[in-house]
Subunit: 450 residues, 2 copies
């Protein structure tokens, strides 16, 4: 049912491109949708991509362009004249066109705009590129149908007829007062079933949710998810309707936010995927690796102060990895739950204490279970002092890690830092250092006294 | 703009509940939407929740019920009679009603169904609960408008009028052949702008994407995301239209899948959030902690075999945490990129070798950088043999972790195991063990020969 990209399909396409066999290429692409074709082109070199793109139908080409990876689109557009770019933009929704034009070098943006034949489209795009990235303004599209409250149903239908060409999917008709302020909406269903001479103000639904142009994308995504909205109108500071955001654009925001969280949690400092080049992949990983190295060096200094102790009791070294790993695991578990609660807005974030207490209790339960198990093991295999040291240290480390795994992301969130950062190498490194300190302190005390 | 849950709001609501002050409660809830009210109720005990629920308007109550946490809804419904439950279900969309009824104890499901007044609704629900959870059938709703290709536009509008009550949001009209098979669709826009006597078969859009009832939820979510669909029709094995899925339900699937991935990556074996009780939170964490413990114990055995070596060279112990941590970090970074590529379908998964080669090269670059840094540090602070041991081991560990972080999730995916599992404690534990082995092997060799 769904198109699946395979090396076979890609190879047969590459072969057809090499042989410049246009009819074979068209045959291979004929049943595919724009996202499928984009997926294929993403895996081709620029020359082949440009060749295929030229062979595409006019209708599907702009959609393929939109679905391409950002880098590939940028490269491809660089081979186009400003006039050719304008032709593609003419057939896109205003929000998509604005996204594409915003990626172009600034010096040619104006030239491209001047080549767009549809003046309305050009002015819509010109307006949209002014909104800051990551705001409702940058997500919204201008294509919508609005009527004044004093108009009639038949006037409204006339309006829809007139705009039918520029609106691809229709959700609802927005209702404005005489100052262009959004005051409500009218579902298409209501429109169809109402009398043609009925006044809009008699039948419209006044209860409508909207966002401002400067609302952040994440807030928009949260808002639409929470209230199960398919489309959301955007108003300016005066409450005048300026655009609308549809859920499909928000789905992308949701996915990107989730992806970003996973990357931050995994110690990737940049938005990368496995198709990126090696230098980019390498650069995205180095920062947190260096943090981990610093943590490791600090750890080595701490252990270094116990050199004499290790000489006499080398068995103390055996459980260093266990203590470090368990601190890391518990810290990541705790912070993942907090990060997720923050992302899904299910936390009461204004009271910290009950959360920490609960987390510490969970830590205590798991700590006692783990400590008891490791005590039994070490008591049988090694000796009682080592068993006591490892189990005591493990319990303390698990409690500490539970505390930090809860406290750090909540605190970062309070200071508007992405808490997902805390779930990654940061908490792991911190817990590593704390774990080792606790372990050796406990060991020295126990061995000294007994 | 958006409702934010605070302790103050919750406390003032609790006070009003204690005082049985219905008018104050109504005042506090009056401007809230169903998800907001549900968020408040989620934080109340059962008695308070039931009290508030009774005070809600008939219109909003079923929506609040749907938005509650699963546990809270279950508890609340247990206080209702089967007739009361049926009343709530009568005002829900068929898919939501089926979800709620599926959560009820089996012995009362039939009784509840028999109390539903709207016979069509009851039979729709009865049909929907038969579909397996996690399939398109379980996601879809029955509310849709369909017409036969041989009908006219005005007949179609009549049909919409007749069904207007049961359909809340309307997307498109589905077009069927005389055997009920889905052959296309008609946008509402097209319907509004076409001549009333036009035949549907002359104006409908034959190009339509659909899924089968047994398509998995994840595939549906991927499909709708990829092709930017707002609504997707569902057909049975014979191609007959049986329902439709809307994007807002899929947004939930997307979020749940992302949440699950984050949980698997963080070593949580169950779907938990911070509002769950302590035993559940504790149980979700224990399995991977025990795996980590086993890893730690294996690590201790490995180090144990080098007891004599550590007695003479206690400085070997210093860098155990660094080696373990770096292996873990690199493994998580590598596997996160693969897991994400798999989730977003951007990987060509049929060829493993190029991916591994690329990952190894990235590992080599980062490994050389890290090894050089740690060499300089250890050379200055400790001695050249330790510096050589640590840097050589670190390079090898980073390469190994890069390889495993790529190989393990890809292999798990091939065997239909969620690859996100691999990004968590599993890869970390494995890398810990391998890292220590490499480190001590290198150390013994170097110290033995020089």
């Amino acid at each position: 049912m769904q198109f699946e990209l395979t090396t076979d399909k890609l190879d047969s396409l590459k072969l057809a491109i090499e042989e410049k066999d246009a009819s074979s290429i068209k045959f291979q692409l004929q049943d595919l949708y724009a996202p499928d074709i984009a997926q294929l082109i993403n895996h081709l070199d620029l020359e082949a991509a440009a060749y295929i793109y030229e062979l595409l139908d006019e209708e599907i080409a702009p959609n393929v362009l939109l679905e391409l990876d950002d880098d590939k689109r940028e490269d491809l557009l660089a081979t186009f004249s400003t006039k050719e770019i304008a032709e593609q933009l003419d057939n896109m929704d205003s929000d998509d066109a604005a996204d594409v034009i915003a990626e172009l070098p600034e010096e040619i943006q104006e030239e491209v705009l001047s080549h767009i034949e549809d003046i309305d489209q050009a002015s819509d795009i010109a307006e949209l590129i002014n909104y800051e990235e990551g705001t409702a303004g940058s997500l919204m599209a201008k294509e919508l149908v609005s009527v004044y409250a004093f108009e009639t149903v038949s006037q409204c239908i006339e309006e829809i007829r007139a705009q039918a060409d520029s609106v691809d999917v229709m959700y609802a008709v927005y209702v404005l007062d005489s100052n262009q302020r959004l005051i409500g909406m009218l579902s298409l269903k209501k429109l169809i079933i109402s009398h043609p001479m009925a006044l809009i103000e008699e039948i419209y639904e006044p209860d409508i949710q909207s966002v401002k142009t400067n609302t952040t994308s994440e807030e928009v995504a949260e808002f639409m998810q929470k209230y199960d909205l398919v489309v959301l109108p955007v108003v300016d500071q005066l409450g005048r309707l300026v655009g609308r955001i549809t859920i499909d654009d928000v789905v992308d925001v949701i996915r990107e936010t989730a992806d970003e969280n996973i990357q931050r949690m995994s110690g990737l400092s940049d938005d990368v995927d496995s198709n990126d080049n090696m230098w980019r992949l390498s650069r995205a990983r180095i920062p947190w690796l260096l943090v981990g190295m610093c943590g490791g060096i600090i750890g080595s200094r701490i252990i270094g102060t116990y050199e004499e102790h290790i000489k006499i009791h080398p068995e103390m070294a055996y459980f260093i990895p266990l203590i470090g790993a368990m601190g890391g695991n518990v810290g990541v578990q705790s912070s993942a739950i907090i990060v997720q609660g923050l992302a899904n807005n299910t936390l009461l974030i204004d009271k910290l204490a009950p959360k920490l207490l609960k987390e510490l209790t969970v830590g205590l339960i798991n700590g006692i279970i783990c400590a008891a198990l490791i005590w039994s093991y070490a008591f049988v295999i090694e000796d009682w002092r080592l068993a006591a040291t490892v189990s005591l240290a493990l319990l303390t480390v698990i409690m500490c890690a539970s505390f930090l795994g809860t406290f750090v992301p909540l605190t970062m969130n309070r200071f508007k830092i992405n808490p997902a950062l805390a779930t990654g190498p940061f908490v792991t490194t911190l817990n590593d250092i704390i774990g080792i300190t606790i372990y050796f302190l406990t060991g020295r005390l126990l061995y000294a006294f007994f």
